[in-house]
Amino acid sequence: MTENETIQIFKCLSDKSRLHLLKALAIEDMYVERLAERLDLSASTVSFHMKKLTEAGLVTSYKTQYYTMYSIQTDILRISILDLIKEKPDDAAIQEEREAKYRKGVIDAFFKYGKLKSIPAQRKKERIILEVIVDAFEFEKKYTEREVNIIIADFYDDFCTLRRDMISEKLLERSGNIYWRVQQKQT
């Protein structure tokens, strides 16, 4: 488990409502409305907390005929706090985690539900958003300029700027009117 994952668990547990939800789930699996009734919370508030608990890996859900049932993830909760503290951080993993966090921050700030809100002014950030968009292109497939524009326009209206920037960032290559995605070398 990474340090960030550990912190996410502690943060999750540091809210009384979530602690009460876990206590209720430790007795039996339950659905949102039942938990809401038991803890005197609104169903919407319970769903909010369940989302956080699920993201932290503390609960899991499964579908039954009528309801989505939630159950506690006993494996994670059995790990002792001492084990979590003792876990030795791996430098490469820390660096990787930092980069992933930065990347996620940029993506969250510039995209909303898959649409680009604006083009970042910083080159490093723009590179990240271009990498997200280029994922919509297949490798070893040739695209006409019109096809490229249509794909990019799905993310952002100013497809000309993004198309040009993808070329200059070497994410796409072109020859005449034909474009293709470039395989990135592993670093």
């Binding site: 809210d15 919407s44 989302k51 539900y113």
Partner: protein, 119 residues
């Protein structure tokens, strides 16, 4: 309408601020944040009312019209954000928009219901 409405908005805002403090102290961090959202919404409409007062002086009809219009206009953005979040199954955003819409409904119900009863 405006002085009673203003009093109501201020009362609710203060109540949310107290609740937020209490919840924070009792370890309900996220619920405290939800109260902060409510507090902000009451504050927004309090500002709207003060702007209306400044703009229309003692003209209660115009103040009421302006306030009603904003009470429809501002939450329409929240409603759209709620629907968008729902389309993307974004439970956290749905909950937050729902809280804001709930406060707008409360204001509508309490301020204008009283107005209706008077008429």
């Amino acid at each position: 309408m405006d002085s009673k409405a203003l009093e109501y908005l201020e009362q609710r805002r203060a109540h949310c601020a107290n609740e937020r403090k209490r919840l924070q102290e009792e370890g309900y961090g996220d619920e405290a944040d939800f109260e902060k959202i409510k507090e902000n919404v009451y504050d927004i409409f309090k500002t709207v009312l003060l702007v209306a007062r400044k703009q229309y002086g003692d003209d209660q009809t115009k103040i009421c019209g302006f306030f009603r219009e904003k009470l429809e206009q501002i939450p329409s953005g929240w409603r759209a954000a709620y629907e968008e979040a729902k389309d993307h199954d974004d439970i956290k955003a749905m909950h937050i928009e729902n809280i804001k819409l709930g406060v707008a409904e409360d204001i509508k119900k309490n301020i204008f219901q009283e107005e209706g009863e008077k008429r």
